[in-house]
Amino acid sequence: MGKIVIDPITRIEGHLKVEAVVDGGEVKEARSSGTLFRGFEIILRGRDPRDAQRITQRICGVCPTSHSTAATLCLDSAFGLGGSIPDNGRLMRNLILGAAHIADHILHFYHLTALDYVDVTKVAKYEGNDPALKSVKEFIERGELGPFVPRYEGDYRFPAEVDQELVKHYLEALRMRRKAQEMCAIFGGKMPHNMAIVPGGVTEVPTVDKIASFLWRLNELRDFIDNVYLADVVAAAEVYSDYFGIGVGCKHLLSYGSYELDGKEPDLTKRKRLLKQGAVGPDLKLQPLDAGSIAEQVKHSWYEESTSGRKPLDSDTVPNENKGGAYSWVKSPRYNGEVYEVGPLARVMATYLAGDENVKAIVDPALAKFKAGPEVMFSTLGRHLARAVSCKVIADTMPAWLLELKPGEPVYQEYEIPDESTGMGLVDAARGALGHWIEVKDKRIANYQCVVPSTWNMSPRDDKGQPGPLEQAITGTKVKDEQNPFEIVRIVRSFDPCLACAVHVITPKGRTLGEYRVA
């Protein structure tokens, strides 16, 4: 029996270490831990509630727009604004968030994931005339291959001409994700860390030139998503089809939904959203979302046992680094006490199972191509496919939102900060279910809690001993070459981990080493 330790996991946001105990070529046990603590919730206490908007974005520079959206929904509800955001404000929030999700999904597939499957060095044999590929060939000939080498070696399966085409798409995707960030900035002011999304609506006003400038970037992106991104995901699925059976995970999915279609419903768990909220089990049935069923457990985390099982607003963080049986500073969020995976897979499946025709029209033909049913979506490839579907559905919907904007009409609703209040903001971030909770006292932040996607996905074992979603997805995996554990990093990256969000504190403990260590 040996242990594979991968520290750091790269091409993710943040600092992550994964340990997998391997016996007979199969992972028997997996643990993930983060290696950074900043303490945002502590820093937020006592500040002006409106500043939570700006500060929580800085939890993560990859998904700041999602944090600004969750914080705004949270403050909207705390300030009594739920249901009274002007339509222009609601639509521009959707457009800023949508552009951010498009940028994020393209970045994830090409720049954070593709190098696990695509061999850049095969461009050395390129004989064509594409200027981008010729420049990569020259780069390879110069002999300094950072940051593309070193890497795991062995399991790169594409023929050279496909690899070359994918490298070209990798470079093209750099430009496309930048364009999507420019779309965020057209209405959001700048990216990363937009300035326009605020409680009450937005600060930017829609004008025809901004609408046109946004639309034509969007058209270019839709072309890329339809003809390049989706096609590449399917091409990868054909060559690496075994990954429909690898990294299955816990088969319970939780979505908060995204993109408000109705500005008038005060209860955001009931608000009509483009991508649906709800919980999905292995039976592939969609249940309504109940925000009261979310609680955090700490039996295997270094916190006082008395804090276990609390709901976010009652949550307290009392560290106890000497607690027996604990092995992580990440808490274990659970829904009705059960392990749930969050992410594009969850929101796409929730929307699919709600019978949404647009999502079915993309998912069903893709599954038919592989002669598979929706159950194969619980997998490494299923997560990548769902991410691409999520990206396409958002992009295809945005032109209608642009045309709904009414230049000259209000974008913002004024408000008073209440002396005392509580608020909750739930939204599906690019990486999944993101919740912000606030307690306001004397017009200041008394308590602020974030339960973020990667806390759900990277959580340790809970009070009942159930491993977290990533741990379950890795456990049981057959590792062909322990020196080059492609299987593990491919599973990890399919979750799109975002550890700056998830990790509040990191272990001060030493760690036990296995018999050997590899990269």
């Binding site: 603590f37 820093i43 700006r54 800085r58 520079g61 002011g189 990216m191 930017e204 260590r517 590899v518």
Partner: protein, 298 residues
Amino acid sequence: MASQKTQEIPVIWIQGAACTGCSVSVLNSVSPTIKNVLVDEVIPGKHVNLRFQATVMAGAGDLVIEALEETWQTKKGGYVLVVEGAIPTRGDAASYCSLGEDKQGKPVSFASRVESLGRDALAVIALGTCAAFGGIPAAKPNPSQCVSVMQLFQSKGVSTPLINIPGCPPHPDWFVGTVASVLIGGLPKAGDLDELNRPKAFYGQLIHENCPRRAYYDEQKFAKKLSDPGCLYELGCKGPVTHADCATRTWNNGVNWCVQCGGLCIGCASEGFPDLVSPMYEKTPDEVLPNIGQKVVQ
């Protein structure tokens, strides 16, 4: 064509108490594009050889830590170190932020990486407000006892040339422009940097001095609520106390920037961000304003 004469400039880019927003911002560079920076000779005859950058690099684990240490050992005095994020120093430091492990499998603190890699670098770029000044991780009550690169270097006696590129996030031009100036003209000369080690080319003026809403300020036409036209000063804009060229450079390929979108300046490039520019949506007291607050229209 690739020439034998291409000079490879090794770069090590490490991330501490950070959000990766600086990296994402640099990915948004327009001219040169990030592809130009990574693959091409970004300045004729010179290629940025990015040896370590956790957000984009292919490898993981010990494989990349070995690449990092190999560059450190074999390119002493010849590589540029980019630090993104503040540096936690609480406890044994490794508890709060580590980067890889040593040969015994013990986590190596980010602080010791910055110190050792910084000591042997040709130059160090502290990218973003966290690395330059501490930023949000160092905000009260600074739970992980974060320090800036400058503070760490002072406490450890590291005297490697240091360039601060603050901003939360920094504009990609500020970073790429600084790298280009080092590649073309060598290390900054006397007078290139201000007293906070910032390139004067980018941080020499206040936002307020070049703000397109400045005329409203001079005429005392202040926005009453967010989304209104008018000067945003009374709603909390920190443009009058923030050194950066956002107003003339604008952001994301020139499509917009914070004040233009009505979102006001929160002073994210300031040494005191966020504590000294909070509450963000409350007016800055007039007495802290520099002389430019004097009215033009009497």
